[in-house]
């Protein structure tokens, strides 16, 4: 019975696809949302992921996948409209708020999210997380960056190297 309908056969009800995380949790989402992933888009266009057989994602665990899908579901309508041009300013402001809230997370989660966005090739999410990390680095001294990113304190050699670098590029430290 589970014959997957073809990609263009769209009769009102949104087509659903199933994604399976590395720890075997099944997620059922609208094809439009999952298609934000360039990686998944082709499979979905070919009619995969429908019915009983899901699309396995061995690189993404369930916690991360649910987070990723939260992003996709939120952004799918805007993406379907062809992005910004048609979206109202209110919608855009709302999406921006969502995005800011969305990346306000623990570093380990952020890391998984970066990798998932990269593996699944979700362009918007990739740039969102990259921007988040860049913002974490902006305006900080090298020592502060090390601490923010969880580096161990520098060894004496590293410290010497830092000092030499500071001498050379002093302008960047004024």
């Amino acid at each position: 019975m589970a014959a997957p309908e073809s990609g263009d056969g769209n009769n009102g009800a949104a087509r659903m696809v199933t994604l399976i995380s590395s720890d075997n949790t099944r997620f059922e989402v609208e094809a439009a949302a999952a298609s934000l992933s360039q990686t998944l888009q082709l499979t979905i266009l070919d009619g995969g992921g429908g019915g009983g057989d899901g699309i396995p994602l061995p690189n993404v665990d369930s916690a991360t996948l649910s987070k990723v899908l939260e992003y996709c579901i939120k952004h799918a309508p805007a993406a379907a409209n062809g992005g910004a041009p048609n979206a109202t300013a209110v919608d855009r402001a709302e999406l921006e708020r969502f995005d800011n809230e969305f990346v306000n997370i623990d570093q380990s989660v952020l890391y998984s999210l970066i990798m998932a966005a990269h593996n699944l090739e979700i362009e918007g999410l990739q740039s969102l997380v990259a921007k988040k990390v860049a913002d974490m680095i902006k305006g900080k001294s090298p020592m502060e960056i090390r601490r923010t990113l969880g580096f161990p304190d520098p060894t004496p050699e590293e410290q010497a190297e830092m000092n030499a670098h500071m001498l050379e590029y002093g302008w960047a430290y004024e």
Partner: protein
């Protein structure tokens, strides 16, 4: 045991995505943190903010980067050293394919030759072009704009050398223009007219001014001489225009939207206090002709608008959803039931949802205006009042707010659910440009203060 750091685990291309988003200074800092980063930096497109004072050293530093560069911002550039950059801008392979160019000169030095052929080098790829205090001739500017097929954002901030800009562009989305102010050379040509001739994708038009420069304006505002510095703005065809403002007597002297014309008019206002009478010269903007309406505009910011003529604006933008008001003047006089019935204000019926008063004072006229909105706008969801702290010394802030709410009470509100909220207006001093709230951010992010 040390926990693993976040970035070390990322593949190079992801790291590059992050590095390319960092301002130059931070990218330099990052070099130190891990030995991997210099490689990631060299492999990712540049995003350069160059303060002139660092420029020479930055140029040296950049020699080891092969490019490309996505964005280049040169700050506090001094014209006398311009030659140093000319060569770099013209020939550096690292700059090939530049998408965003922001040039900001420290001061306008009109004795120097006008700006640069280098900008032309990037015309084909430029998405964003922002000039501050640049002297550029009308022909050169038009030549440059005509050569930019992908340009989306244009900022002309205190630029001189041209009297008129005509914008005809299939790609342009946002335009911001300020008139140069602190410059009194008689020989300098100032921009006087902006004509949006044909811009099918244009969404945002932001005329603005720098607050730091207008103290002198305020002193002489009685004489209306600030108008000298404001511009004529004519919009012939911009069917997608959504965000407009801030319109003020100090930024726009004449606004032509198709056949509709708003114009600054100086008039004498008589004040009578008991036996003494005084005269005040006041500049106000009003519609001379109200024919074309602009249903595409959803967000409008008005500054120093005369309350008496606010309906002119509301009628001109029948689908207005958000209205930002700042420092209104004059006395609001309702047109009475007849006036409004004969000529209803369309945006009140279905569209106007949010009003923001910046620099709210709360005098009788302000309250009258608020009550007018509350009795007429049917779908209004909220009115925000942003007031500055120094406003009310007489009573405590809570008392003042309570008093304001009391005075705004109405039996016949058009929209029961409209919320009134009061907040401090912290950024009020320098937020001229941000009048349209977050809606003009794509362009206002590229206007800078220093």
């Amino acid at each position: 045991m040390n926990r693993q750091d976040l970035l070390s685990l990322l593949p190079d291309c992801v790291l590059g995505e992050i590095v390319t988003r960092l301002p130059t200074r931070d990218a330099v800092h990052l070099q130190l943190v891990s030995s991997r980063y210099p490689n990631a930096w060299r492999a990712s497109p540049l995003n350069l903010d160059v303060d002139y004072r660092d420029a020479v050293r930055v140029l040296v530093y950049l020699r080891c980067h092969p490019g490309p560069t996505r964005r280049l911002r040169l700050e506090r550039l001094s014209t006398s050293y311009y030659g140093d950059f000319d060569h770099w801008l013209l020939f550096s392979p690292a700059l090939a394919g530049l998408q965003a160019l922001e040039l900001q000169l420290q001061t306008l030095d009109v004795s120097r030759r006008p700006l640069p052929p280098p900008a032309l080098r990037f015309a084909a790829t430029l998405v964003l072009l922002s000039f501050r205090r640049v002297d550029i001739s009308e022909a050169a500017l038009h030549g440059l704009l005509a050569g930019c097929p992908a340009l989306q954002t244009l900022v002309l901030d205190e630029c001189v050398g041209f009297a008129r800009v005509r914008i005809t562009s299939a790609s342009i989305r946002s335009v911001a223009v300020s008139s140069s102010s602190n410059l009194d050379h008689a020989t300098v040509t100032r921009p006087r007219q902006i004509i949006i001739e044909d811009a099918p994708r244009l969404q945002t038009v932001v005329p603005f001014r720098h607050r730091s420069n207008n103290h002198s304006d305020d002193d002489e505002s009685g004489g209306g001489s600030s108008c000298r510095r404001s511009l004529d703005l004519r919009i012939v065809s911009a069917p997608k225009l959504r965000v407009l403002g801030s319109l003020s007597t100090k930024t726009v002297r004449k606004l032509e939207l198709g056949a509709t014309v708003f114009k600054v008019i100086d008039r004498i206002v008589k004040h009578v206090h008991g036996n003494s009478a005084s005269h005040e010269k006041r500049s106000e903007v009003r519609a001379i002709c109200l024919a074309t309406t602009m249903p595409s505009v959803k967000v409008l910011a008005l500054e120093d608008v005369d309350r008496m003529h606010i309906n002119d604006f509301l009628r001109c933008f029948p689908r207005l959803e958000r209205l930002y008001l700042k420092g209104s003047q004059g006395i609001f006089r309702s047109e009475g039931t007849y006036g409004v019935k004969l000529n209803p204000i369309e945006c009140f019926e279905l569209y106007l949802r949010r009003i923001v008063f910046n620099g709210y004072k709360g005098d009788t006229s302000d309250v009258k205006l608020v009550k007018f909105f509350l009795t007429k706008a049917r779908v209004l969801e909220s009115i925000s009042f942003r007031f500055s702290r120094s406003n009310n010394n007489v009573c405590s802030e809570e008392e003042w707010i309570a008093d304001q709410r009391f005075r705004m009470r109405l039996k016949n509100r058009a929209s029961e659910s409209a919320k009134l909220s009061f907040a401090h207006d912290e950024g009020y001093r320098d937020d001229d440009v941000y009048c349209c709230g977050e809606y003009a951010r794509d362009v206002t992010d590229h206007i800078h203060y220093y």
